[in-house]
Amino acid sequence: MTFIEYFITALTLQAGYNSALVAIGAGLLGLAAGGAGAFIFLRKRALVSDAISHATLPGVGLAFIVMVAFGGDGRWLPGLIIGSAISSAIGLLCVEWITRQTRLSEDAAIGAVLSVFFGLGIVLLTIIQTMSSGRQAGLEGFLLGATAGMLISEAATIAVAGAIAALCVFALRRPMTLVAFDAEYAATTGINVRLTDLAMMGLALIVTVIGLKIVGLVLIVALLIIPPVCARFWTNQVGPMIGISAVIGGVSGYIGAALSSAASSLPTGPIIVLVAFGFFVLSLLFSPLRGALASALRHWRFQRRVHRRQGLLALARNEPIYDGLTLRILRQSGLIRRDNVATLRGRAAAEKSLRDEARWGAVRRLFPDDSVLDRYDGLTPIEDVMTRDQIADIDRSLCEREGMA
């Protein structure tokens, strides 16, 4: 079977029960991450999730030590998840506490918490390595995620937790939207902003701890950040943005897991992140709203309009044109001949733009405070912003002035 065939088999969940579960689990995880991440992104606290994810490590280590001390299997996934949730909650509260109680800004608090908790976690991992050789194998997998050799019970845990997290996002969407956009207004409507913020971060925490096994703690933050960044390119409305973000997260997780099961040497976490990044590149380039191509096109059109207008005004005033681009644009639209003399059509268009400028000038003189003047950009024809009657009035005043002169 070639790679592509295997990839398609994995995509259609035909590649075995285990990889199907991993793919579904990763998809649900991505769905929850995209949804929760959208609110955090709108609240402009994307990197708090980085602190949360790094703060899971001491919890994983301590949970392992505790479970072994009580004679259990140190690698029991739900136990490790609970441990990591507790320590990352402590990390999150530390970030909150430092930001509230001291003069340090949130980014300093994030950097401090993530490096210190991670360092402490590494200390615990080295202790584990010495206390029961061999049995710790697999904890390093939490750094970068490891789905190869995943137990079916583990995959099921992740799938169920992912679904629950996605439901929580759905249930809390209204207060979280309000807080993300206007925390003060939300407070006046009776929403507890601090609690909602904590719930938002709590969702990120849930996503992080269940994603540890698949994506790993260094990269899970990407699943919370990249999908909302992509989604923001495609819409200006909250509801659709959260939906798009969740779908991009889910699809990235699903495709990434399928790709990595198709090529066993590809680690799951990085593949999922790179698939999500692919969506980002597509959004950045091709979004009609804020994409790079769309704005380049807008810029190009605007440039041509400016050159055309300025060229026509120069023609009407019998001034010579030196700018190459202006000449080219006028020639291409058939307004001047090869020897730069205006064609009939060009002369008409030039007269019209001169008249337009004169009318705008009259408006400036007659109604200096009118809001319509805000629309003047040297390009907009006056017919677009004023009625025919108004223009007739303006023309009359222009005639009177000429008569006086």
């Binding site: 992104f41 402009k44 606290r45 994307a46 990197l47 999730s49 980085d50 506490w97 430092i98 109680q101 001291t102 003069r103 340090l104 800004s105 980014d107 300093a108 994030i110 950097g111 401090a112 993530l114 490096s115 210190v116 908790f117 991670f118 360092g119 402490l120 976690g121 590494i122 200390v123 991992l125 080295t126 202790i127 010495t130 390093e140 750094l143 970068l144 260094v218 990269l219 933050v221 990407a222 950040i225 990249i226 909302p228 960044v229 923001r232 390119f233 040497s265 590809l266 680690p267 976490g269 990085p270 593949i271 992140v273 790179l274 990044f277 980002f280 959004s283 950045l284 804020r290 790079a292």
Partner: protein, 310 residues
């Protein structure tokens, strides 16, 4: 504990730890005040793809190509963050998170896909460093410090970090006034003719160089911890920039020494024959110092002015 064995096994890592900690803490002061503390985090993540790319291009694991690769990756990351911010009008934090996770993922992927099994690069090494293994074989005691033959066999990381730290001190001394003004009042700095954007970029490049030189010896955890924790703790001690820099150097030094000693000898006090990760312990000590500063630092509260501003 203070005999020949100490000079051979513990002195070089401690000195290297101190050099790395100070080299990172110095620019960290300015990053902290400019609210760019997480640039250090982003840079230390992209070091991995940098060294992997350098390995793929040169095929060797010599130190200089790796350091150049890592420095290039750091600069590429900073430029990419700017592009994402400008082109996509994405919020800075999100742009940073997007770029460094993607580059890190690419680094891990290249590492797994390329035939690097024969050489010693792995993710954990990049994260943790190998401070404990930087020993001085030819030392026979304190007198070896005066013996040029023995000195020549010091771990090369030591001299690299010493050069980096010296360069950092020169950079900060030369541009002290400009950095200070542009950090506190960018508009005024621009008005008196300081190229604030160029200076900001230079600071980031200096940060990247410090991160790259330090990570090779001590791993990226210490790098991130030292960029943030000592300057943050120092910020809570004083309102003067020069005092803050001084405090941050003291805190960085204490973290490095205490962290290494606790990691190496601490478990022995509890009857365990094994040492724990020195890198992790140094970061932990730095965190404890910051925690104490948060609780007791004389200037820990916001002044009324900045509270009103915030």
């Amino acid at each position: 504990m203070m005999g020949a064995e100490f000079v051979q096994l513990s002195l070089p890592p401690i000195v290297i730890g101190i050099l790395a900690a100070i080299a990172c803490a110095l620019p960290g002061n300015f990053l902290l005040l400019r609210r760019q503390a997480l640039i250090g985090d982003a840079i230390s993540h992209v070091v991995l793809p940098g060294i992997v790319a350098a390995f793929l291009v040169t095929g060797t694991i010599a130190a200089w190509p790796m350091m150049i690769g890592a420095a290039v990756a750091a600069i590429v990351a900073v430029v990419l963050i700017e592009i994402v911010k400008r082109l996509g009008r994405v919020e800075p934090g999100a742009a940073m998170g997007l770029v460094f996770t993607t580059l890190f993922a690419a680094g891990v992927l290249f590492l797994e896909r390329s035939d690097t099994s024969s050489v010693h690069i792995d993710v954990e090494h990049a994260l943790l460093g190998n401070l404990e293994s930087l020993i001085w074989f030819d030392a026979e005691g304190w007198h070896s410090l005066l013996d040029p033959v023995a000195l020549a066999t010091l771990p090369p990381q030591l001299s690299r970090l010493a050069i980096t730290l010296a360069a950092m001190i020169v950079f900060l001394t030369l541009f002290w006034k400009e950095l200070k003004i542009s950090t506190f009042d960018a508009a005024f700095a621009g008005a008196i003719g300081i190229h604030t954007r160029l200076l900001g970029f230079a600071l980031v490049v200096a940060t990247a160089i410090a991160a790259v030189a330090a990570f090779d010896a001590v791993g990226s955890i210490i790098v991130i911890a030292m960029f943030v924790c000592p300057p943050a703790a120092a910020r809570l001690m004083t309102n003067r920039l020069d005092h803050q820099v001084g405090w941050s150097v003291i805190f960085a030094t204490i973290s490095a020494i205490l962290g290494y000693v606790l990691a190496g000898y601490g478990p022995g006090w509890f009857g365990s024959p094994y040492a724990v990760s020195a890198a992790g312990m140094i970061a932990t000590i730095a965190g404890i110092i910051l925690g104490l500063a948060c609780l007791f630092g004389p200037q820990r509260k916001r002044t009324s002015q900045s509270a009103a501003g915030a």
